[in-house]
C-alpha cells in the first residue's frame, strides 16, 4: 500500500477529472467574504465611475483566471461602469479577445473610447505601475489600435491613480503588490485582485490595503453565482471537488498504509 506505481495515481486523476465534465455534479458553491467584498465594491459603482482592469496573467493560466475575468467584466458592464484596460503580458491581446467575445455588451452597449478603452501592452513591471499611478498620459500616448489619447474621451479623464475608482488587477505574479504600493498606499485608490490560488497566502499580508480577492477558479465560480450567470468557473468547480476529494482520500490511504507498515516493523 505504501508504494503504489505512480502511474496508477496519474490515471486515476486523469479519469476523475474527466467525469464531471461529462456528468456534472452541480454541488453548491458557498460564497466567501473576500469574494463578496469585491462584488459589493463593484455593485457600489455606477456610470459615473471608472474601473481599471489590469491584465498581468498569460493565456496559459486561463483555466484558473478566465472565469473570474469574464464574470467581473459582465458585472462591470451591468453596472455601466467605465472601463480602462491595459496589461503587462505579451499574449494579452488573445485574452482581451476572449473577454470581448464573452461579454458582447462591450461592442453593443458600450462605445469604444467613451465607455471602455484598451490601452495595450506595457513593459517594465513595477516601474511602469508606479509611473502610471502618477501620470497615465506620459506613459500612454495612444491606445492599442494607435488612436492618440487626445481622441479618447475616457482616457482624457484618467490622468492619474486619483481618477480611478477601483483597480481590478488580474494577476499571476506580483502585480498586486505593485498596485498596493503605488496606487493604494501612494494615492488611496481601492485595489481588488483576480488571482491564482497561491496568491491568497501572500495577499492576506495586506488586509488593510485590499478591497477583496477572487481566489482562483473558486473565486470565479462564486462570482458567477453572485451575478446570477453561471459559466466556466462553475463547471470547473466540479472537477475541483472531485480532485480535492481524491487528494484527501489518497492522503488518508497513504497514512493508513504508513502506520501499518510501521507497526509491522
Amino acid at each position: 500500500m505504501a508504494e503504489v506505481d505512480r502511474r496508477v495515481l496519474y490515471w486515476v486523476m486523469f479519469i476523475a477529472l474527466a467525469i464531471p465534465f461529462i456528468n456534472p455534479l452541480g454541488l453548491p458553491v458557498p460564497i466567501t467574504e473576500m469574494t463578496k467584498a469585491v462584488y459589493d465594491k463593484v455593485e457600489s459603482l455606477g456610470p459615473k465611475n471608472i474601473a481599471l482592469f489590469s491584465i498581468a496573467g498569460g493565456v496559459s493560466a486561463w483555466p484558473e483566471i478566465a472565469p473570474s475575468m469574464v464574470a467581473v467584466m459582465r458585472h462591470l458592464v451591468k453596472r455601466e461602469v467605465k472601463i480602462v484596460v491595459w496589461g503587462f503580458f505579451t499574449d494579452q491581446d488573445i485574452t482581451v479577445d476572449m473577454i470581448t467575445s464573452n461579454v458582447p455588451e462591450l461592442s453593443t452597449k458600450y462605445k469604444y473610447g467613451e465607455d471602455w478603452v484598451y490601452m495595450g501592452y506595457l513593459a517594465g513591471g513595477e516601474t511602469a505601475v508606479a509611473a502610471l499611478a502618477s501620470d497615465v498620459h506620459s506613459v500612454f500616448k495612444a491606445d492599442k489600435y494607435g488612436t492618440p489619447t487626445e481622441k479618447l474621451p475616457l482616457i482624457q479623464r484618467v490622468k492619474s491613480a486619483k481618477d480611478v475608482d477601483l483597480v481590478l488587477t488580474v494577476d499571476t505574479g506580483s502585480y498586486i503588490t505593485y498596485y498596493i504600493r503605488h496606487w493604494n498606499v501612494g494615492k488611496g485608490t481601492p485595489v481588488a485582485e483576480i488571482g491564482i490560488a497561491m496568491q491568497a497566502d501572500q495577499v492576506v499580508f495586506y488586509p488593510a490595503n485590499l478591497v477583496g480577492l477572487l481566489i482562483g477558479v473558486r473565486g470565479g465560480a462564486e462570482y458567477e453565482k453572485m451575478i446570477g450567470r453561471l459559466g466556466g468557473g462553475t463547471i470547473t468547480m466540479d472537477a475541483i471537488n472531485i480532485s480535492h476529494l481524491l487528494f484527501i482520500i489518497v492522503i488518508a490511504l497513504a497514512n493508513i498504509g504508513y502506520v501499518m507498515t510501521r507497526r509491522k516493523k
Binding site: 505512480r6 498606499v185 497561491m198 501572500q202
Partner: protein
C-alpha cells in the same frame, strides 16, 4: 525654544523631509536598514580578519553533496544540475539566486571532475551561459583535467516549459543518479522533483522562492530553504570573508526581531513611534 516653535519646526521637517534629504517618502527606514546591512557586514569582516570568524551551524543539504556525488560515482551515472526558471535572465530580481546556484555548481563540478562523473546542466537562462561555461571549465582545470570538460554537457532550452520537457526527457534517457535543482525555481520544482523520484535519483533542492518551498521539501531528500542557498557557496568554500556575510545577516534578523518586540509593546500601550518610523 517654546513648545509651539518646536512643534512647528517638527511639522516643517516632517513635511519637507523628502526635499531636504531627497529620500523618497516611505522608504526612509528601508534605506537605514540597507545602510546598517553594509555596516554589519563591515564589522563582521573586521572580526573575521582578526580570526574571530563566526561559526555557522551545520547545513545538512550542503554536507549531502559529497555523498550524493559519491553515489553517482559508484553507480557510474551522471549528475544532473539545473538552476530553475528565474525569469530567464540575470538582470531580474531572481538574478542573485542564479548566481548563488552557480557558486554551488562550481563546487559540485569540482567533485564531478575529481571522480570522473559526467555532469549535465540544463538551463533556460541564456545570459548565464558564459558564467556557467567558465565555472565548469575552471572546475575541471583546477582538478587537473581540462581535457575532460565537454561543453556539450550544457543544454540550453528557450523557455520554462521547454526546459521542463527537456529535463523530463533527459531523466528517462540518461538516468542521472543525482538531481540538484538550486536557484530561482518556479513550477518546475514539483515536476522535476517527482520525475527524479521516479528514476530513484538522490535529490538536493533549494530556492529562496517561498512559493516552491513546500514542493522542494516534499520531493527532495535534502532541502535548502530560503537564505541557505545564498550561504551555500560560502559554506563549502569555508571562506571567512563570506561567512561573515551570514553573521551580519543574523545580526540584522536579531535587530529586526528586537524592533518587532519593542514596536508591538509600544503599539499595545498606545505609542506609535515605531510604526511611524517604519513608515518614514
Amino acid at each position: 525654544m517654546t513648545k509651539a516653535t518646536y512643534s512647528v519646526a517638527a511639522d516643517f521637517l516632517a513635511e519637507n523631509l523628502e526635499e531636504i534629504l531627497l529620500i523618497t517618502t516611505g522608504r526612509g527606514f528601508s534605506f537605514v536598514v540597507l545602510v546598517l546591512s553594509f555596516i554589519f557586514f563591515y564589522i563582521a569582516i573586521q572580526l573575521a580578519k582578526k580570526g574571530k570568524a563566526p561559526k555557522i551551524r551545520r547545513m545538512v543539504a550542503m554536507d549531502a553533496i559529497d555523498e550524493a556525488v559519491g553515489r553517482a560515482t559508484e553507480e557510474g551515472k551522471p549528475v544532473h544540475y539545473s538552476p530553475g526558471y528565474a525569469y530567464m535572465t540575470l538582470s531580474s530580481e531572481q538574478g542573485p539566486q542564479t548566481l548563488a546556484s552557480i557558486g554551488i555548481l562550481s563546487y559540485v563540478a569540482g567533485l564531478c571532475a575529481r571522480f570522473d562523473v559526467p555532469i549535465i546542466y540544463n538551463t533556460c537562462i541564456a545570459d548565464s551561459l558564459p558564467l556557467v561555461e567558465e565555472t565548469l571549465r575552471t572546475a575541471y582545470r583546477n582538478e587537473g583535467k581540462p581535457e575532460a570538460f565537454d561543453p556539450k554537457c550544457i543544454r540550453y532550452q528557450p523557455g520554462q516549459s521547454e526546459y521542463v520537457s527537456a529535463v523530463l526527457g533527459t531523466f528517462q534517457r540518461e538516468r542521472p543518479a543525482v538531481n540538484m535543482m538550486i536557484g530561482g525555481l518556479y513550477y518546475e520544482a514539483v515536476v522535476i522533483g517527482e520525475a527524479a523520484n521516479v528514476i530513484g535519483a538522490t535529490q538536493i533542492g533549494g530556492s529562496a522562492n517561498i512559493h516552491q518551498m513546500p514542493f522542494i521539501i516534499a520531493t527532495c531528500d535534502y532541502a535548502m530553504i530560503g537564505e541557505e542557498i545564498f550561504a551555500g557557496s560560502a559554506y563549502v568554500t569555508k571562506d571567512p570573508l563570506v561567512t561573515s556575510g551570514i553573521a551580519s545577516g543574523d545580526w540584522m534578523k536579531m535587530l529586526l526581531i528586537a524592533i518587532t518586540v519593542l514596536g508591538a509593546m509600544l503599539e499595545l500601550s498606545g505609542v506609535n513611534v515605531i510604526s511611524q518610523l517604519l513608515k518614514w
